[in-house]
Structure formats: structure tokens, C-alpha cells
């Protein structure tokens, strides 16, 4: 066996790959489900917090800013570990899926709130005044005049941040979640062969590379400049 053969036998072993392909695919499905749950709940929660903050109720805003700061400061892995290993002591044992989902959704919520808020405050004051001068109420102005403009400004930074946080689904493997990396690692230790890991790596690229390329396009299309 040449060294090249040894290399392909280790890293791209067809027999091993075939055997564990279903596992990796199952991992992909779970990763997609987790990612969808994180993105939907995280963005929605972030938007709701930003809108609440626009109401301008002092104590509520302090609370929002604190929660946002907290989840921007904590590494997502620390949040996952805290929820998965810590919460059971408080009598609540979330599954690996729920722990990972909650953690990443909280982190995305924090970043999304910050970005939505920046979009709202960067909309010129004159837009508020013009809308209010025609009799639109606060909520109507926010909904029909400010948000559509703010959302456009937020698309590019929000896309990038969402991708970065969604990649964190791989962290679930630390709490034994059977997503792609978890499946690949256990397949690797069962087969004493790194081929499943290469498949796992490829699976991530299949999922995320198109999104990253699409984000590049979005960035040039909806940049912060107007």
C-alpha cells in the first residue's frame, strides 16, 4: 500500500462511509430542525424585545438591555452547559435538543434585538415626525413607517449573525445531541476510522456554504448605505 492509499483508506474509506451515511443524514435532519427552531424563535424574540424597547419604559428597558448584554457576553457553549448540566439541580431536566435550542435561541435573540434596535434608532427622526403629524399613532408609525425601513437596514448584519450563531448547532454534540458532529464522532469511535468525520464536515459545507454565498449577495444588495 502506498502512503496515498493509506491516506484515502483512512479518510475516504468507501466501506465505512457507506455504512455510516444514514447516520450522517439523520444528523443532518436533526441539525436542520434545530437550526430552524433556533432561527425562528431567536429572531422573533429579538424583534419583540426591540419593539418593547421602543415603547421607552425605563425599568423595562434596563431589563431588556441587561438580558441582551448577558447573552452577548456569555459564550454559547457556557449557556448550553449551564442549562443542560445545571438546570437539573433546580428540578428541570431539559433534553439535549431543548438545551441547545434554548441556548442558541437566547443568544440569537440578544444579537437580533441589538441589530433591530440599531435599525429602529437609525431611522431618521423626521420619519417619526412626518408620520405623527398626519395623525398616525405610535404603534402605527412603528409598524408602517419605521419597521419597514429598519428591517431593510438590518438584513445584512442579521444574516451574517444568524449564520454564525446557527453554526453553533454543532455545540450540541457536547451534551450528546445526535446532530451531524455528534453522529460523526460516535461513528468515528465505533469504526476507528475518520471517514465519518470527513462526511460530517462535508455535510456542514453542504448546509452552510450556500447560505454563506447567498449572504454575500444579500450584503451587496441591502447594504447599510441607502
Amino acid at each position: 500500500m502506498t502512503s496515498w492509499d493509506r491516506f484515502t483508506d483512512a479518510f475516504f474509506n468507501a466501506r465505512v462511509m457507506e455504512k455510516y451515511l444514514p447516520d450522517i443524514l439523520a444528523g443532518m435532519v436533526l441539525t436542520i430542525e434545530l437550526a430552524a427552531a433556533v432561527i425562528a424563535s431567536g429572531l422573533l424574540a429579538g424583534l419583540v424585545l426591540a419593539l418593547l424597547r421602543a415603547l421607552g419604559i425605563r425599568p423595562l428597558n434596563w431589563l431588556i438591555v441587561f438580558v441582551v448584554d448577558l447573552f452577548r457576553s456569555l459564550p454559547p457553549l457556557v449557556v448550553i452547559v449551564l442549562i443542560y448540566f445545571g438546570l437539573p439541580s433546580a428540578g428541570f431536566s431539559p433534553s439535549a435538543f431543548v438545551s441547545t435550542w434554548m441556548s442558541l435561541a437566547l443568544v440569537l435573540m440578544a444579537f437580533a434585538e441589538e441589530i433591530f434596535w440599531a435599525g429602529i434608532v437609525s431611522t431618521p427622526k423626521g420619519q417619526w415626525e412626518a408620520a405623527r403629524s398626519t395623525g398616525l399613532g405610535f404603534g402605527q408609525t412603528l409598524l408602517h413607517v419605521i419597521l419597514p425601513q429598519a428591517l431593510r437596514l438590518t438584513i445584512a448584519p442579521l444574516t451574517n449573525r444568524t449564520i454564525a450563531i446557527t453554526k453553533g448547532t454543532a455545540l450540541g454534540t457536547v451534551v450528546a445531541l445526535h446532530e451531524i458532529l455528534g453522529m460523526a464522532s460516535s461513528a468515528m469511535s465505533n469504526s476507528y476510522n475518520p471517514s465519518p468525520l470527513m462526511m460530517g464536515a462535508a455535510a456542514y459545507l453542504v448546509l452552510f456554504l450556500p447560505v454563506v454565498v447567498a449572504a454575500r449577495w444579500v450584503e451587496t444588495r441591502f447594504s447599510w448605505k441607502r
Binding site: 431618521p124 412626518a130 408620520a131 403629524s133 395623525g135 399613532g137 402605527q140 425601513q149
Partner: protein
Amino acid sequence: MRLMPPIVSAKAIHKHFGPLHVLKGVDLDVAERELVFVIGPSGSGKSTLLRCLNRLEAPSSGSIVVDGIDMLSSKTDINHARQRIGMVFQSFNLYPHMTALGNVTLALRKVVGKSRAEAEVLGRAALERVGLADRAGHRPAELSGGQQQRVAIARAIALEPRVMLFDEPTSALDPELVGSVLAVMRGLRESGMTMIVVSHEMGFARAAADRVVFMDDGLIVEQGPPAQIFESPTHGRTRAFIGQIQRH
């Protein structure tokens, strides 16, 4: 004309911004169909006064009654009241994400409660009045400054206001575009609209204003018919200001 009850009545308006005392007790009555022109150096409080009239700024004290509605009462539905007071801004403040027609119809639909179809009929009529019926589907970015300001006027008059406030409507425009906006304002004037205009367009003031009000340092210094204020102002500060403006 002076015998008619005023449609706008502001009494003893004070406005503080932190330590700044911007309005120091301003009284202003405006009769129906009257065009009042407010002039004065920058920082004299004329824009703030205008913005107090529809409560975009809340006065620190005083009273404002517009068309029989107490603007400062907490019982007043301010959004409903503002519908009767149109406002045009120096920087147009058109909604960039909507077409001209969308800008004009938003409040008709959301405040007045018209259906989209009804609102669009009224909106097109308003655009027609400012000579922009053919621009209904354009976004603000596709319009010239003069056209944008005329859309902004259409947005205000579509609500059929009783009073129109103009806050330096032509200051942000290139000189060659000023005329089209002033023409629309003249048309409004001829239709009998009550107007309060903060502006430096002295030619327009001479031709169209019933009364010119000169403000300085948060107070009304002097007021009267345009000929009197421009030709023979009694107050030194007015004279200095008029002289400065006319040298340009």
C-alpha cells in the same frame, strides 16, 4: 377679518429644552383663511413654535386651541387632532420605502379608516392638485427635491386639514426647484387654506401673506401687513434682520 374667531389660538407659550428657554411667552392668533408668515433669525424659536402647534413638541406651559380643540389637554385624541393640521417639513420626510401614492394614502387608510380603493382615489386627487398625478407610482428617490416636497404637501392636504403648517418648505431645495413648490402653496392659498409659513422666501411673503410675524429670541417682536414690516419696520431688530435678508 379680525372679528372672526381665530382658528388657531396660542397663548403664553413657553418652551424649555433643558436649560434653554426657547419660547418666552408667545401669543399667536390666526384667523380662518389667513396666511401668516413667520420670519426671524435662526434660533429665534419660529420652528419650535410651529412644532408646538401640532404638539410635535410639547410646550412647557401655555394653551393652544386649534379649530376648537384644546391641543394640550390630555383628554384630546392627539392623533385625531393632528389630522386637521397638515405639516410640511424642510427635509420632506417622505417615507422612502413607499411610492408617492403610498405616502399620501397611509394616513387616510390607517387614521381616517378609508378602504384602500377610497384612499387611492383621494390620494390621486391630492397628487393631481400638486401637479404630480403622473408620478403616483414613483418612489421618493426617483423624484426631484421639488417633486418630493410637493408629494409631502399632497400627503398633508389629502387629509383635508383646516390649517397647514410649513416649516421652511423650500430651504432644502435647489433654487430652480423652489418655484414649483411656491406655485403649489399659492394655489392652496387661493383655495382659502389657512396657512402658517416659516420661510425666508420674502418675495412670496410680499405677494401672498396677509400678515408677517417677526420673531427673535423666543418672542414675537413685531407683526403687521407685509408692506409695513418690510418697508417701515418700527423695531430696530426687525430692521436689522430685514436689511440682512434683502442684501442677499
